[in-house]
């Protein structure tokens, strides 16, 4: 590919290098999928599969939050609330009503949409900092509610959630497929008419409103889409762990997902995927360092943000500036 490759016009000042061309290429996504599909051939131990499945679920969470934070620019500090709602809905239905997990999915979608509206409708009238504070509060409310209700099993949570498949390898592949669809779905959504409206709102809410965009409704749509993504990730999470408890849905978890989005590059799908993989795998890779694990994790994150302030794989605007 050395000669005569047509340079596509993109809204950047610098001429694209070979690396950046590859990054913009749709094949980058396929290469990522291929790596995910081939990984079990390298290491299929229960530990590796467990960590990789968790990473895939985390990618889905980050893709969902990216819709809210990356596309629409709404700072959500309580995103894990939707993750919890999804996990608990499917967990409760599966253990108390003996429904198979796939059957719980429609219920999860309905419940998360309702949760998105209930949480989003009042809060999205707020802007920036205030929105962040209120979402932070809602995240905690969901967790503390789960901690105190009997139906959610209180502090010990729900255990004995049936596995989707007996084999962890099959479950890993299933997760990868679902997550890939979710990531592609989020990317397509970002390029739609609605996605354009989201970016418009992010760049200048007043201007968007003046141009006839119903900003409130557009923001609510982003919030609900993010909620559904988070809820479905919750189903995978519940199926993977077979037990869920409120300790999995703390503020730290929300912060980590947000960190994955920011670290990868807000609004950039490949960036968010890379960011999520880094954030979820790094603590496991550093596991042997025991006490220093989270210290080093923090240092590495700071280093990344210093070297690449726009994220590992920043978004490039398709609109010519």
């Amino acid at each position: 590919m050395t000669s005569a490759v047509k340079v596509r016009k993109v809204g950047t000042d610098k001429p694209p290098t070979r690396a950046s061309k590859f990054l913009q290429n749709r094949w980058a996504g396929l290469a990522g999928l291929l790596i995910a599909l081939l990984a079990p051939f390298v290491n299929a131990s229960p530990y590796a599969l467990s960590v990789m499945t968790s990473a895939a679920v985390f990618v889905m969470l980050a893709a969902g939050l990216n819709i809210v934070v990356g596309y629409c620019g709404l700072l959500d500090l309580g995103y894990v609330a939707f993750f919890a709602v999804g996990a608990y809905t499917s967990g409760v239905l599966a253990t108390r009503f003996d429904l198979p997990l796939p059957v719980t999915v429609p219920f999860v979608i309905v419940v998360t949409v309702i949760a998105g509206i209930v949480i989003g409708a009042p809060t999205l009238r707020l802007r920036s900092d205030y929105l962040a504070i209120v979402t932070l509060g809602f995240g905690e409310i969901i967790r503390i509610t789960a901690n105190n209700l009997d139906v959610t099993g209180g502090p010990s949570g729900i255990y004995g959630i049936p596995h989707l498949t007996e084999s962890p390898v099959v479950f890993y592949y299933l997760t990868v497929v679902v997550v890939s669809l979710a990531v592609v779905g989020a990317a397509r959504l970002g390029r739609s008419r609605l996605g354009r409206a989201w970016r418009f709102v992010r760049e200048d809410e007043d201007a968007a409103e003046a141009m006839g965009v119903n900003t409130y409704r557009v923001k609510l749509a982003a919030y609900i889409a993010g909620a559904v993504w988070g809820g479905l990730a919750g189903v995978l999470f519940a199926a993977h762990l077979s037990a869920i408890s409120p300790t999995s849905f703390t503020f730290l978890q929300s912060a980590l997902v947000l960190m994955a989005v920011v670290l990868g590059g807000m609004g950039s799908i490949p960036g968010v995927v890379v960011g999520a993989v880094v954030i979820s795998l790094l603590p496991e890779i550093l596991r042997d360092l025991a006490d220093y694990r989270f210290f080093l994790f923090g240092v590495l994150l700071i280093v990344v943000m210093l070297l690449r302030p726009q994220g590992l794989w920043p978004a490039r605007s398709r609109e010519v500036s």
């Binding site: 590919m1 490759v5 590859f22 290429n25 094949w27 290469a31 291929l34 790596i35 081939l38 079990p40 051939f41 390298v42 290491n43 299929a44 131990s45 229960p46 530990y47 590796a48 599969l49 467990s50 960590v51 968790s54 503390i144 901690n147 105190n148 209180g154 502090p155 010990s156 949570g157 255990y159 004995g160 390898v169 993977h240 762990l241 077979s242 037990a243 869920i244 408890s245 300790t247 999995s248 496991e284 596991r287 025991a290 006490d291 694990r293 989270f294």
Partner: protein
């Protein structure tokens, strides 16, 4: 549309196929950890990070001590023992990853488990791999209620601890008791069971069950609620971090009555947080700790010599868990999970810190061995063995 850069993908595919041939890949076949003459691996999930991180070393050090002692005597069945630890961070997700890690490393018996919430999701993982679990510390009733064949608890259970608390407070002539728990499964379990016992006619009455939110830095609202009931006994069933703060604030607010702690608060850190003055005279329900054991001086000395610190809470249970695992493997004549479980069920009168061991049909201790400690001069000391 440009040509597919197949070239750039080929190395990836090749890499995948190459590595598949060896190691732990999907096509790599089922070569498990070496059986036969290699070391027998004992896995231990303990908190090494997070809010309960202080407990981890107490347990892993004691387990290592037991392993070294057994190895010095020639090991089990001619094989050495080896300890593998993994961090559960007292959180379900980390615990599942950690448990899978231990299974991958090929552990034969699990001797870990401190936080009940983190131990619960690991039960099916070890169960699927046919690995018996001897749980040294976690003791929530939910672990028992699942009636799993491979799970054994060597710490006293919530109901045994509640019975000890009821017995002590009745003996002390308490009239009105406030129960305080932090809504974690273990703590709530003890508080509600104690309430059920106290509510029986006669003796003390539970006037209030107060719930606190863990990890806060101010509990004055809860303290006000407690004081409003004018209790002569307050029973805190949670962990030491919140317990230290609550006791300090209770005393600062002028509470003069007695305070009783659950076993999760029995730690030198409790006294550190509460302060010596506030902690003095506080009682606790606790299984036997190294400090209160008769004839454990030699054991404490060898622990101290090896690790340079005193043993702490659950050191003795972790130590016993390893010894018990070794005993059961020896009796079973190998590391086969089913045989080890059968050997554990058959054990009768194995000497442990908590007394001669025999499991109940539910795989719990027939005798919880709870006793009453008191803080005296900045240390937990034995007050009443409740025998």
């Amino acid at each position: 549309m440009r040509a597919i850069p197949l070239k750039s993908l080929t190395p990836l595919v090749l890499l995948g196929l190459l590595t598949a041939g060896c190691g732990q890949g999907l096509l790599g076949g089922d070569d498990q950890a070496p059986k036969g003459n290699g070391p027998i691996l004992l896995g231990m999930l303990i908190p090494q990070s997070g809010s309960e991180a202080a407990i981890g070393p107490y347990m892993s050090n004691a387990a290592q001590l037991a392993i070294d002692e057994i190895n010095a005597k020639g090991g089990v069945l001619g094989r050495k023992l080896e300890l593998k630890t993994a961090d559960d961070a007292c959180d379900a997700q980390s615990a599942v990853a950690g448990a899978n890690k231990l299974v991958t490393e090929g552990v034969n018996v699990s001797v870990g488990g401190y936080c009940s919430g983190a131990t619960l999701p690991t039960l099916p993982i070890f169960g699927k791999a046919n690995i018996p679990m001897i749980i040294p510390a976690a003791n929530s009733q939910e672990l028992v209620d699942q009636k799993l064949k491979h799970v054994f608890l060597i710490n006293g259970t919530g109901s045994q601890q509640a019975a000890a608390a009821d017995k002590w407070m009745t003996k002390e002539g308490a009239k009105s008791v406030v129960l305080v728990h932090d809504n974690t499964s273990y703590s709530k379990d003890i508080a509600l069971r104690t309430k059920a016992l106290l509510d029986a006619p006669g003796g003390a009455d539970a006037v209030l069950v107060e719930t606190v939110t863990p990890k806060e830095s101010d509990y004055s609202a809860n303290v006000t609620n407690i004081l409003a009931k004018k209790p002569d006994y307050v029973y805190w069933t949670g962990y030491f971090q919140e317990g230290g703060l609550i006791v300090r604030q209770l005393r600062q607010a002028g509470y003069k009555g007695h305070i009783l702690l659950g076993d999760g608060s029995v730690s030198p850190k409790f006294i550190e947080i509460a302060g010596n003055d506030a902690a003095e005279g506080v009682y606790a329900t606790m299984t036997q700790t190294p400090d209160t054991l008769e004839g454990a001086e030699n054991w404490i000395a060898s622990y101290k010599k090896k690790f340079g610190t005193d043993p702490g809470p659950y050191s003795n249970q972790a130590y016993d868990a390893v010894r018990l695992a070794a005993e059961a493997i020896g009796k079973a004549g190998g590391t086969d999970g089913t045989k080890v479980v059968a050997a554990l069920e058959g054990i009768d009168g194995f000497p442990m810190f908590s007394g001669p061991l025999k499991f109940t049909p539910e795989h719990t201790l027939s005798n919880g061995g709870f006793q009453i400690l008191v803080v005296k001069g900045g240390k937990f000391a034995l007050q009443d063995s409740l025998k």
